[in-house]
């Protein structure tokens, strides 16, 4: 079997002669994934790039104020939202490594946002923020007698809320990862620092941070890449509104698809690639070692 398969599949005789039975099995076992990869990654990506080939699409995008707004929103989401989230996660990872039984229990609850699907909880937040019936404005009315603001009708507040929902969902995951980083640091170092009378900040600055900075930076980059694909937080909370002012790149593609402007949908994604691909390449190199 080895001979027939290799003779027909591989043109170079030296290679085929070296193919052993396990290697043939290796090819057979790898084939299903390669098929999936060709049919559902290579073909769609190629097709998408082909759809985005028209220069006019990019001119149209350039003149579309919603695209510019979405690009700015995406940048705010990534640069402010993610860095804030990772700083909080770094801080909370220090909290959750404390050995107290109540902190153990709290950490079990804390992981809930990550464990439950995002749709019901995002809708729950959306109802809380409803200007007439939402619990937040009900409480504001109860205590002050005034009507609360129409939260999701202000693009700045609405985007901030979408970032908040994103942070609520993914903060536990990153805290958990940074916790493992903290737990990997040798305890002797902290004991030695205590003997020397080091302050809390000195311990963080000279022990914790140097051993965690690579992990922290990797996590931040990874979170940025993944957040680019966070469709639910924006789409289900604000739907891109009011007046299409809170779109991010991931929801914009769907908006163009809805409007039957397929080439614009693809072009908007292609515009993001120069920023995304270097990050993706860097991460791939780091993890494939």
């Amino acid at each position: 079997m080895a001979i027939t398969l290799s003779a027909s599949d591989l043109p170079s005789p030296p290679l085929s002669a070296r193919l052993t039975t396990p290697q043939v099995w290796g090819i057979v076992l790898l084939a299903p994934y390669i098929l999936v990869f060709l049919a559902f990654v290579v073909y769609p990506v190629g097709y998408g790039l082909w759809l985005a080939r028209h220069p006019e699409s990019y001119v149209a995008l350039y003149h579309d104020p919603i695209f510019a707004r979405a690009a700015v929103n995406t940048l705010i989401f990534l640069v402010i939202g993610i860095n804030f989230k990772m700083l909080v996660a770094l801080f909370l990872s220090g909290f959750f490594v404390q050995s107290r039984s109540w902190i153990k229990w709290l950490s079990v609850l804390f992981i809930l946002p990550w464990a439950v699907p995002s749709i019901p909880t995002i809708l729950s937040v959306r109802f809380m923020l409803n200007p007439e019936w939402g619990v937040i404005n009900q409480l504001i009315f109860k205590f002050t007698g005034d009507d609360g603001p129409n939260w999701l009708n202000d693009p700045t507040v609405a985007l901030a809320m979408a970032i908040g929902v994103h942070i609520w969902k993914s903060l536990p995951f990153w805290t958990l990862i940074l916790m493992t980083g903290r737990l990997a640091i040798s305890h002797d170092l902290f004991e030695a620092a205590d003997v020397d009378g080091a302050s809390w900040w000195q311990k963080f600055r000279f022990i914790t941070w140097p051993s965690m900075q690579m992990l922290y930076i990797t996590c931040t980059l990874l979170s940025m890449i993944w957040t680019l694909g966070d469709f639910n937080s924006v789409y289900l909370l604000t739907g891109g509104g009011p007046a299409d002012l809170t779109h991010v790149l991931s929801t914009l593609g769907i908006r163009y698809l809805r409007l039957d402007q397929l080439s614009l949908a693809m072009a908007s994604i292609v515009c993001a690639l120069p920023f995304v691909l270097p990050l993706v390449y860097f991460m791939m190199k780091r993890l494939s070692r």
């Binding site: 396990p22 790898l30 769609p44 609850l109 749709i119 469709f231």
Partner: protein, 283 residues
């Protein structure tokens, strides 16, 4: 028993000062959902911390499909189950075979395939959604459960292969050599040595794929559209389209939908924590 010193009390107070806001922040959206689920319609908007007349009536309405929006609840629930289980099974099959081939059989080009898979893993899934939608249209799979299953397998398998490869690289080579020495064929090696030893990682990967498919909204809402074909999250999203959507029923359905993944997550936490934390980021 000795009394705590002032310093110890101060530390506890500081920890509580962090812990209490964290608890409130985490629980508010979930508790809000739960509160709606157990409130009768007229109580739901009262803004109280506990309803005056807690009831399970909403669950009754959902389970017996007694509302226009819920007429296909069970079939949508079933769709979600089928798609999640099929994604889990297919991902396991494809990823285990690929990891075995790359890591144990050292197939030529295996490293390149691993890199390509990792590349896919990092591309944001929403970027692939529009071309995937068109591709499924070209393949004639739109509105067919297979389109969602295959899309989910595509998204789940890179990470699955990577986690399994990392785990199987740790198995000693001597095992394979000993088994081959005893006359085991490659398939026997796979079935009798490799798979049993990889069980913990296989459980982690299978759970990951099932949860991924169960939780997916974007692809589900693009690829499926008929009321009897869609999954629960899409049905929940459709609630929003109407102005008069009954919030308490939406929250009840959402609560029911959120329970299985939460239960699975906590049941397999042991495996998930190992797989996820070690797997997601290597420091």
């Amino acid at each position: 028993m000795k009394l705590p010193t002032l310093r110890e009390v101060g530390t506890e107070a500081k920890l509580l000062l962090i812990g209490i806001p964290v608890f409130i922040w985490t629980m508010v959206p979930i508790y809000h959902m739960f509160l709606f689920a157990i409130s009768p319609k007229e109580d739901a908007f009262s803004g109280k911390l506990w309803p005056a007349h807690p009831t399970l009536h909403n669950f009754h309405i959902v389970f017996y499909q007694e509302h226009y929006f819920l007429r296909d609840f069970w079939i949508q629930f079933w769709n979600s189950v089928v798609i999640a289980v099929a994604t889990g099974a297919l991902t396991l099959l494809i990823a285990t075979a690929a990891a075995f081939s790359i890591s144990r059989l050292r197939v030529p080009g295996g490293r390149a395939v691993m890199n390509l898979a990792l590349f896919t893993y990092f591309i944001p899934a929403a970027f692939l959604a529009v071309p995937m939608y068109r591709t499924m249209g070209n393949y004639g799979l739109l509105n067919n459960h297979w389109s969602l299953i295959l899309a989910m397998v595509t998204i789940a398998s890179p990470y699955a292969i990577w986690v399994l490869k990392q785990a199987s690289d740790k198995l000693p080579v001597e095992l394979d050599e000993a088994a081959t020495m005893d006359g085991a064929t490659t398939l026997q090696l796979f079935r009798l040595v490799y798979v049993p030893l990889m069980m913990p990682s296989l459980v982690a990967v299978g759970t990951y794929a099932i949860l991924l498919a169960w939780n997916e909204y974007l692809y589900a809402f693009l690829l499926l559209s008929k009321d009897t074909d869609i999954t629960l999250p899409v049905a929940l999203g459709n609630f929003l389209a109407a102005d008069d959507s009954p919030w308490e029923l939406l929250m009840t359905t959402g609560f029911i939908y959120a329970l299985p993944p939460a239960a699975i997550y906590y049941a397999f936490k042991r495996y998930m924590v190992g797989g996820l934390t070690a797997g997601a980021v290597k420091s």
